[in-house]
């Protein structure tokens, strides 16, 4: 089952396409990261997936073909929007009761109470008076008490300090592990992705640039260092995602053409092979908006 499936999905605001030709299939049971610079279309994609906005083109379904935003989808998908919008004039306890009414049927009250108690969040304090980290935890608590099958988080880490980030991610990971909840979270900070995500989607300028299993992505990419005049030779054997050329030396981030499980990489003479981190892969693609790594790939070749 795919938790999110998009086909030819696009959204236009007036004359600008925030997202276009987006075709995606994020498998179930994953913690998927949606990366990309600001304005890449991450929020637009998420809002369409949770049914907040309608697509201009194409369609998107969740949890095995349920139309995004339909009743059956809303019941199973929990969404924490950017800047955690909650009713700030309400005390935490009332916020929880409100969420319970709006989600009658699946709501897990004891889970909500346990989480808030463990976090030491006073139920009588108004949501608006909590710290950013506590507010994020309250929003996450609301989302988790809904017992979602898919948890969608839009830039959940942005307003948090490092400790709060750690706690937040730990809570998300724990839920994903315990309940088998699928998670999709967006971030424009690339460094944190590798630790958490096992599936990655990179959006750039409204298009899907990379989509795939994190392990596969890391294994199928390599950093090659060699003579600057030998770049063309490498290009014959590899897909060069990004090239950084000095006077004498060149650093190339390349993608194997064959399946990643195959035999060890054979670089051309005079070239050294280095393993890459996920961050390096993501950054390389973001620097080359023309390149892409998608299931059924068509990587750009740099001559």
């Amino acid at each position: 089952m795919n938790v999110i499936e998009a086909a030819g999905l696009g959204r236009r605001y007036w004359t600008t396409w925030a997202l276009r030709d987006c075709t995606l299939a994020i498998p179930a049971g994953r913690v998927a990261a949606l990366a990309g610079p600001n304005g890449a279309g991450k929020t637009t994609l998420m809002h369409m997936a949770v049914g907040l906005i309608a697509p201009t083109r194409g369609r998107v379904t969740v949890l095995g073909g349920r139309p995004a935003g339909s009743r059956e989808a809303l019941e199973r998908v929990a969404f924490v929007a950017q800047d955690v919008p909650l009713y700030r004039h309400l005390p935490v306890g009332d916020m929880m009761r409100l969420a319970r009414v709006l989600n009658a049927g699946r709501w897990d009250q004891s889970r909500a109470e346990r989480r808030l108690a463990a976090m030491d969040i006073p139920l009588r304090r108004k949501v608006g008076k909590l710290s950013g980290g506590q507010r994020a935890q309250v929003a996450l608590t609301v989302a988790l008490a809904r017992r979602p099958e898919l948890l969608v988080l839009d830039e959940p880490l942005a307003p948090l300090d490092p400790l709060a980030r750690h706690e937040f991610l730990a809570a998300v990971m724990e839920t994903a592990a315990e309940d088998g909840t699928s998670v999709l979270f967006s971030s424009h900070v690339v460094t944190e992705l590798e630790r958490v995500a096992d599936y990655l989607v990179v959006l750039s300028r409204g298009r899907v640039q990379v989509a795939g299993d994190v392990e596969d992505l890391v294994r199928s990419h390599q950093l090659l260092t060699g003579p600057a005049d030998g770049v063309a030779a490498v290009g014959e054997r590899f897909d060069v995602v990004h090239a950084q050329r000095g006077l004498a030396q060149a650093h190339l981030l390349v993608r194997r053409r064959a399946a990643p499980a195959q035999a060890p990489l054979q670089p051309p003479d005079g070239w050294q092979v280095h393993p890459v981190t996920l961050e390096e892969v993501v950054l390389a693609y973001l620097r080359e908006p023309g390149a892409s790594a998608l299931p059924g790939p068509e990587p750009a070749v740099i001559s």
């Binding site: 969404f79 009713y87 699946r106």
Partner: protein
């Protein structure tokens, strides 16, 4: 999937959900407690004011009945102060004031409850929360709008009732001021007041949904609801009561129609047949005109001439001149029919706005 779902909410948890304070009504109350409290306080104060004034007026009225002061020619030393109080004293100012206040009630509801309702959700970004919950945005909107509208109906109904009751003594003794057909009274019965409140609320909610900012939405709502009230009281009311009128050849009344605007030989009367005026009892007089013996409608100047010359001399002059006065009117028995028509039409307009709002919520981006 089925096994997982059934494991998620055992019976015990369902029971705990039925605890008090876990209904949509509680959510709406908790969300809008501030606005509802001060709005409720304001309306309550207004209602109590009318109640107190009404008790005073009814006391005077009861005393008048006791002394036999009612009726066109009743006069005694005991009656005089009572009659002059109601006819000339504070009840006159009071009547004008509460009529205006009753017209302001829907405006206040629309501006302070309706307009911020969705606009605040948009500005605070909480639509992204509210519309992604399991209940779904349509059910959320229908429940929220429905419950608040019901509360406003109840409040406006009660105010309309107290208003009508408090003005009974004034209406019984003054020819025009608080007559039931007069726009200020006709538009503030429990029926029409409730409908007006719902319409103003719907205007406010739609303005908030379209404009998405609290203060501009409130300003637009104020402008629209005040305009609607103005049009209703000054135009729609008279147009409506002019529909399907009866025609009477009313010589007796024709002696004294020196009120109303004369244009093209037609008098726009717009007045009730008072207890001192002979005519179809309790009827609303719409228009009148004179015809000569040959059946031709008299011109403006001819009517002016007649009125200047004969007003106050009794109805005999018409007969003498072989002229006839014609009048169109709504029989008093149709009062509640027109109440239902006005209230129903207002509610229909409100329903159309509500449908538009829900459609907007369903299809528009958050």
């Amino acid at each position: 999937m089925t096994a997982l779902t059934s494991g998620v909410h055992p019976v015990g948890r369902w029971r705990s959900l039925q605890a008090p304070g876990t209904s949509m009504a509680w959510v709406v109350w908790r969300q809008h407690r501030g606005a509802l409290t001060w709005l409720g306080g304001l309306l309550l104060a207004f209602g109590v004011t009318m109640l107190v004034a009404g008790i005073q007026l009814h006391r005077i009225y009861a005393a008048e009945i006791r002394h036999g002061c009612l009726g066109a020619s009743a006069w005694s030393h005991a009656c005089r102060p009572l009659q002059s109080t109601i006819g000339l004293g504070w009840p006159q100012a009071y009547t004008n004031l509460v009529m205006l206040a009753m017209q302001a009630v829907p405006v206040i509801i629309g501006v302070f409850l309706g307009a911020p309702l969705l606009a605040r959700e948009y500005t605070a970004g909480t639509v992204r929360f509210a519309w992604t919950q399991g209940i779904g945005r349509t059910r959320w909107a229908v429940a929220t709008l429905g419950l608040l509208a019901a509360a406003m109906v109840a409040a406006a109904c009660l105010l309309g009732l107290v208003f009508q009751w408090s003005l009974l003594p004034v209406a019984a003794q003054t020819s025009r001021l608080a007559d039931r057909w007069e726009p200020g009274v006709f538009g503030s019965t429990p029926l029409t007041a409730a409908a007006a409140a719902v319409l103003a609320f719907a205007v406010g909610v739609l303005a908030g949904a379209l404009i998405r900012r609290v203060v501009p939405a409130m300003a637009v709502t104020a402008a629209v609801t005040i305009t609607v009230a103005n049009l209703t009281y000054n135009r729609l009311h008279y147009w409506l009561l002019g529909q399907g009128t009866e025609l009477a050849r009313d010589q007796a009344f024709g002696a004294a129609p020196n009120v109303g605007d004369l244009s093209g030989g037609v008098l726009t009367i717009h007045e009730t047949v008072g207890h001192s005026t002979p005519g179809p009892a309790g009827a609303w007089l719409d228009q009148g005109w004179y015809t000569s013996a040959s059946g031709q409608r008299l011109s403006d100047s001819a009517v002016n001439h007649l009125q200047n010359r004969y007003t106050g001399t009794g109805p005999e002059w018409l007969t003498r001149l072989h002229d006839t006065f014609w009048v169109t009117y709504q029989p008093g028995s149709r009062y509640w029919v027109f109440q239902l028509v006005l209230a129903g039409g207002t509610l229909l307009a409100a329903a159309a706005l509500a449908v538009a709002t829900i459609a907007l919520i369903r299809h528009r981006r958050a």
